[in-house]
């Protein structure tokens, strides 16, 4: 009897300290602000006045008619579609090359030097995104930038002083290019791990039946990785909608004619430059709804295809 009581106290104290205390910190600093944001979005609070005038859905109707915000939403949706397709496409191709892209005869293996390619490709992921943005902003510089230097040295004189980030035609593509540069290695590593989960026997059996690298990639690797690719799409999609650092570092004002302006930049300036706090929260809610809709659709797709996945952020905890 005594032992049980002691254990109960022991367990109770453990649960309080191990779970209740840390969870409270998390609730106050992460969960509570989410809830607050929703309620603030119904006010016209400037952020610094003592009262928070309730205005119902006015912020939302205003956002509907806000040309700039609509542009930002459109750009975010472009990111949501283009960034994953390009990044995951390249990452998938590279992952296949370094795992099963080796010779078509003999055991299934990657091209030589795979380890080197893998290590180098992952490099940009560990570099702070703001530095990635800054380095590329300099590399894109019309006059002293690396890119135009390389292009003009290759004989393409039309790029002598081309402003990649300053021209409406290329600003968004150049921005997406930087994000792709930063993310490919990460997803390549994910896909490599998934491919390595394929039973060796299956690969070798296919090889004995005469399957070359293309056939193996198409008929074994691709179907096997479908679930992983969908999961990866969820992570990178959340990232694309949440994307702030790259766009901010490359074009802090939203680019030529707002061509690279995204929702998060609008939230940031609306809240912290204009002090229109209620509206910024309404934008945040719109962003959250977009995220949920996106994740919901993808999860519906994966449920239909029967391989469920749980979204867990791959960004090392803090995005």
């Amino acid at each position: 009897m005594l032992r049980r009581r002691r254990l109960d106290l022991d367990r109770a104290s453990l649960l309080i300290v191990f779970l209740l205390l840390p969870f409270s910190l998390y609730a106050v600093m992460v969960l509570w602000p989410f809830v607050q944001a929703v309620s603030y979005s119904l006010t016209s609070w400037s952020g610094f006045s003592p009262d928070k005038p309730f205005i119902g859905l006015d912020n939302y109707t205003e956002l509907l008619g806000d040309e700039t915000f609509r542009t930002a939403v459109r750009n975010s949706l472009v990111l949501l579609v283009v960034l994953p397709i390009v990044t995951l496409g390249i990452a998938f191709a590279f992952a296949v090359l370094v795992t099963v892209g080796g010779p078509s005869a003999g055991g299934v293996r990657g091209v030589r030097g795979s380890a080197f390619y893998r290590v180098v490709s992952f490099f940009p992921y560990v570099i702070p995104a703001i530095v990635v943005g800054l380095v590329w902003a300099q590399a894109y510089d019309p006059n002293s930038g690396l890119l135009n230097g390389v292009l003009t040295n290759a004989g393409l004189d039309q790029f002598e002083a081309y402003a990649w980030l300053g021209e409406k035609r290329t600003a968004m593509a150049a921005t997406i290019g930087v994000a792709v540069w930063g993310m490919v290695g990460f997803y390549m590593v994910l896909f490599i791990a998934a491919i390595q989960g394929i039973d060796r026997e299956v690969l070798e059996a296919a090889r004995l039946d005469g399957a070359g690298r293309v056939r193996i990639s198409r008929s074994i690797v691709a179907p096997y990785l479908a679930g992983s690719v969908r999961a990866a799409y969820i992570y990178i999609g959340i990232f694309a909608l949440d994307c702030f650092v790259y766009v901010q570092a490359l074009n802090s004002t939203g680019g030529p004619d707002n061509s690279t302006l995204v929702i998060t930049q609008q939230i940031y300036t609306t809240a912290f430059t204009k002090g229109d706090f209620g509206k910024a929260c309404a934008m945040g809610v719109v962003l959250a709804l977009l995220t949920f809709a996106f994740v919901g659709i993808l999860q519906l797709v994966s449920r239909i295809r029967s391989r469920g996945t749980t979204p867990v952020t791959p960004m090392g905890g803090v995005r």
Partner: protein, 298 residues
Amino acid sequence: MSQTTMTRPAGETRRVPRRPAAGSGDRRAAVASHTVLSVWSLVVLVPLLWTVLQSFKTSAEIFESPFALPSRWSFDNYVSAWTTAGIGSYFLNTVIVVGCALFLTMLLGSMSAYALARFDFPGRAVVRQLILAGLTFPIFLAVVPLFFVLQGMGLLGTLPGLILTYTAFAYPFTVFFLIAYFEELPGEIAEAAAIDGASEWRTFFQIMLPMARPGMASVAILNFVGLWNQFLLPLVLNTDQTKWVLTQGMAAFASSAGYSVDFGALFAGAVMTIVPVLVVYVVFQRRLQGSVAQGSLK
């Protein structure tokens, strides 16, 4: 590397035939693969090497001859970035904030993961769902009110405020990663410890935690990279310039873009911001890549 053997296989009877002399199709495919992968490696490495190169030049040199080697290899830019541009103190702040937040995150995260993995109590499923929610919600939605939460606590623009925020935001990922780890540890050992009279606390700190060391190391490295590179939270919440972290210092370079910027110092600052994470990456490269794969695709 053994795949250079050129012997022809005796026939198709071997389980894993050895590689025959590469056919011309094979060779073309190999050349194409290597070309693609090498080009990508160059695309990754050249901008970084260029950054290092620029960090040794004067601003005038950067504009006049952007691709030439520096006329004189000197660390002037590093000195001026470290002192004049404040990178030195930002560096120190970053080390303090990331160090403390990492310790707190690992301690609190592992404790919570252990409690959630090994104890049954009412509301457990709800807590798990709420922790998962923190991973899917857009961080931007939380950050705006968080400003006033911190202000209300008097922690806005202070290092402790930033440390607590980092900890709170790294908490859900850490817990989720480690729950799986603690669930896999054999329960018999904990039971044996309980029979021997060890308290629950002691069982955790002296038995279970040491056993989870590989998982802890993986999350710690991921969190280190994530926290070192964190930009949005300090930008919004760390408003006092003397408390700035490195990423904020770099952003200040960006926003003051124009001819007043000391470009040499900018590149030197970039190099100094990258080096610590790069060192961690090179040393823990295998574990980091492994934990990325393990923690993200369930």
